[in-house]
């Protein structure tokens, strides 16, 4: 028997062919084991999962396997993420303490809604965050011992009529409008519903908008009414906006609304998903982990609406475009005023309809009153302003006293229920206009004083009449003595007088002239009578007195030397006169008449300042 030689190379290939799949399988198993280990050793939690707008939630990423690298912050429209820091601690698992590392992230919402936060670690699941408005019940009441959280009312329902699920069954939008025909300008209440699946629809990126330009839609609230429904076994958060629609032109229209969303859409084909499902959960999980939110816009099914034109037949001239069903009333306050005082006429228009077309043209007929621009205010009685009351306030002033009548006001509108133009009117209002404030008050004052027995005041007779045309006027109300320009006049005068007072000196000659004249008269008399004793005595006294005043010294201080020094040669004559006075007094000396004349000239010259 011949044995075939062994080909070792084939043996090696065969062995490798057997080992290789096993090695690959082992490697895959190890890789899967690592992934499972990661999934088990790192995870994140968020508290609380439901918050109010304005509050924040906290995400804690926990690692049970040593140091945890920084995690990338996710990007979710409407949420702000902020890395607060990291810490270390211990986690107790099955009675064992395991060293742990934590990363804390704060999440702050910018608006209400349901948000889905993608996992921060490779194998973690996404987190859900519900943000409610500030006026809703406190979400933290969940932790209260006394209050238990109210479960959301979830009503199972099949697909409602008119709803078409979009975005892979994750969302829908619906427009609810009346089925009847409407008129141009008529305000029609409409409802817009948007349903989203939390977790799949990550955010709403804007308010629903109406497609087309032939209609006007009132501004939608940022806080819609929210409810939860189960549609075809899936939970939906349904947001409902109530608004008012108005057509701007007649015709047959097809209406729909659109709303932008961010949705996690699976882009893999069904075959791929089936293969991944057969390969087991790691493959299927990795496939779903690759899904990222995508911005899309979904639209509602079209709704037909017929818009009719307003009839031209029977249209009032003062029709301003108001369509609806209105009632009017009026009041005035105060009911009694003085002439010239303002009073306010209020016109109340209530009902349903397009209140923006209700204007104040009805006040144009108040031509006998002085009017000012009217003010208006609208108080809605529903959320959308379809029902309510509009109040016009018209200030009026009556110029004349007495009983005045404000005519009734008329308001025309088109009633779509009766399909006719209608006219609402108010009743005329009577107002008592008293005399002007001054006259009426004065009359009351005078009457009161008369009743008390006191005499009536003079002013109680009324205003005194006007003065004739003014003849003189001034340019400055401030009195003269408070005007700087005028104050210069007395100031200048006072300065001149003060300066003069200091500048002018008294005249000694004038001061002594009277006594000198008196002395000269006595000297003349003595000379004529030949009384030398009296003559020289009077002459000496008068001269010394004059010299004393002139030289500002006492008469006793005047000596002979002083006379000679001040008067020169005349001093010697004065000295001789004094000597003759002594002689005449003590020795009866009698000078001749010639001598008297000589001495008289000398004395007169000295007394009056004249020189011979």
């Amino acid at each position: 028997m011949r044995t075939r030689p062994i080909h070792w190379s084939k043996v090696i290939v065969a062995i490798l062919g057997l080992i290789a799949p096993i090695a690959i399988a082992i490697a895959n198993a190890m890789a899967m084991a690592d992934g499972m280990a990661d999934a088990a050793l790192a995870y994140e939690t968020m508290e609380p999962p439901r918050i109010r707008l304005g509050d924040s939630a906290m995400i804690r990423v926990t690692s049970l396997d040593g140091y945890l690298k920084n995690v990338p912050l996710p990007t979710v429209p409407g949420l702000t993420f902020e890395l607060l820091g990291r810490s270390q601690g211990l986690e107790f698992v099955s009675g064992k303490s395991i060293p742990s590392t934590y990363i804390l992230i704060r999440v702050t919402p910018q608006f209400t809604g349901l948000f889905s936060i993608p996992g921060l670690t490779p194998t973690s699941r996404s987190l859900g965050l519900e943000v409610v408005s500030g006026d809703e019940p406190n979400p933290y009441a969940l932790h209260s011992h006394n209050q238990f959280p109210q479960p959301l009312k979830v009503s199972p329902a099949p697909i409602p009529k008119g709803i078409q699920l979009k975005a892979g069954g994750a969302a829908f939008v619906q427009l609810v409008i009346p089925t009847r025909a409407v008129y141009v300008g008529e305000s029609v209440p409409v409802d817009i519903e948007v349903g989203i699946r939390p977790g799949i629809v990550t955010s709403m990126n804007g308010l629903p908008t109406l497609s087309g330009t032939d209609f006007t839609l009132n501004n939608l609230s940022k806080q819609p009414k929210r409810s939860d429904q189960v549609i075809e076994g899936s939970p939906f958060a349904v947001m409902t906006w109530h608004s008012v629609l108005a057509a701007v032109k007649p015709g047959d229209f097809s209406l729909s609304v659109e709303t932008p969303l961010s949705v996690k859409i699976n882009t893999h084909s069904a075959e791929d998903i089936a293969i991944a499902a057969r390969m087991g959960w790691p493959f299927l999980q990795s496939m779903y982990n690759g899904i990222v939110p995508k911005d899309i816009t979904i639209a509602s099914p079209s709704s037909a609406l017929k818009v009719l034109p307003l009839p031209t037949q029977g249209q009032p001239k003062d029709f301003s475009g108001a369509v609806g069903d209105f009632q009017v009333s009026s009041d005035i306050s105060p009911a009694r005023v003085a002439a010239g005082d303002p009073l306010t006429l209020r016109l109340h228009i209530s009902g349903v309809g397009n209140f923006d077309r209700v204007d104040s043209t009805m006040f144009d007929r108040l031509d006998r009153w002085k009017t000012y621009p009217a003010k208006s205010s609208f108080t809605p009685s529903d959320a959308v302003g379809y029902k309510g009351e509009k109040v016009f306030e018209q200030p009026l002033i009556a110029a004349l006293p007495g009983e005045q009548t404000i005519p009734g006001l008329e308001f025309s509108y088109f009633n779509p229920n009766t399909q006719h133009y209608e006219r609402a009117h108010t009743q005329p209002v009577k107002v008592m206009i008293a005399a002007s404030l001054a006259d009426s008050s004065l009359s009351a004052l005078a009457a009161a004083q008369s009743l008390n027995g006191a005499p009536t005041n003079q002013s109680a007779r009324g205003l005194r009449p006007d003065h004739p045309r003014p003849q003189s006027s001034v340019s400055e109300m401030r009195p003269l003595y408070f005007q700087a320009l005028f104050l210069a006049v007395p100031a200048t005068l006072a300065l001149i007088l003060a300066g003069s007072w200091f500048a002018v000196r008294p005249n000694p000659a004038r001061a002594t002239s009277k006594s000198a004249e008196r002395a000269l008269a006595q000297l003349d008399a003595a000379a004529q009578s030949g009384d030398s004793s009296s003559f020289f005595e009077v002459a000496r006294t008068a001269l010394l007195h004059t010299f004393a005043v002139r030289w500002q010294m006492s008469p006793d201080q005047i000596t002979v030397a002083e006379l000679k020094a001040r008067l020169g040669p005349a001093g010697e004559d004065i000295e001789r006169l004094c000597a003759l006075a002594d002689e005449a007094k003590y020795s009866d000396y009698e000078p001749g008449s010639t001598d008297f004349q000589h001495w008289l000239r000398l004395i007169r010259g000295q007394l009056t300042g004249e020189r011979e």
Partner: protein, 225 residues
């Protein structure tokens, strides 16, 4: 030496006259015109503006019986309290301020001339003394007149009824009390668009400038019609 001095004086006088004439035209006020204007406001039922113009007319003609009677009448109609003038005030305000101003100048001249004459000539002492005494009396009359009118330079009249007086000079300041139209108040301070006033009852508060009319018109105020 005298000729250059006189020439400089003449040039200075000419410059002063030119500056005076070059000033912008100012509104003209007359007591009769203001009185008639006040009557118009009173008839129109505006006691605040009526009292304001009566006060202004009274400033120019304090002894006018019609002005005082109508002022009292409108104040009584508006239920605003009035204070009767004292006898001293009636005497001091017998002359209108313009006449009182020139009387004061005459008094200064009499006192000055009397004192100067006493220095120049010792004669007629009784005449000089009488002149000085008369001058002092005239000056006292003018000073009294000015002292009585000085507070009115800082008075204002409330033009709007129920004007709030606030605790601080801001529009949203708390209201301390409410003023009646045609009430006369005293201005004590100003801050931007608010005026600190004091009532005759002693209350103080900040009032919006637009709600008051000053008795002495502000420079920015338009002239009377």
């Amino acid at each position: 030496m005298r000729a250059p001095t006189i020439a400089m004086l003449i040039v200075g006088l000419a410059l002063w006259c030119g500056q005076t004439l070059a000033q912008p035209w100012q509104p003209r006020y007359s007591a009769d015109g203001l009185y008639n204007l006040a009557n118009s406001y009173a008839r129109a039922g505006k006691p605040g503006l009526a009292v304001l113009n009566y006060e202004r007319a009274s400033l120019l003609a304090p002894d006018d019986a019609d002005i005082n009677a109508n002022l009292e009448y409108v104040r009584a109609s508006a239920h605003v309290a009035t204070e009767p003038r004292t006898r001293f005030a009636r005497i001091a305000q017998a002359a209108n301020p313009t006449l009182a101003a020139w009387i004061g100048v005459l008094g200064i001249a009499l006192v000055g001339v009397g004192l100067l004459a006493r220095k120049l000539a010792p004669r007629f002492q009784w005449l000089r003394a009488g002149g000085v005494l008369l001058g002092v009396a005239l000056i006292a009359l003018t000073v009294s007149n000015a002292m009585l009118l000085w507070p009115r330079m800082h008075e204002a009249v409330v033009l709007i009824n129920q004007t709030p007086a606030r605790v601080s000079p801001v529009p949203m300041g708390d209201t301390a009390f409410v003023l009646r139209e045609a009430e006369t108040v005293t201005i004590t301070a100003e801050h931007e668009d608010f005026i600190l006033i004091r009532t005759r009852g002693g209350l103080s508060g900040w009032v919006a400038r637009a709600n008051l009319g000053t008795v002495v018109p502000q420079l920015s105020e338009p002239p009377p019609p």
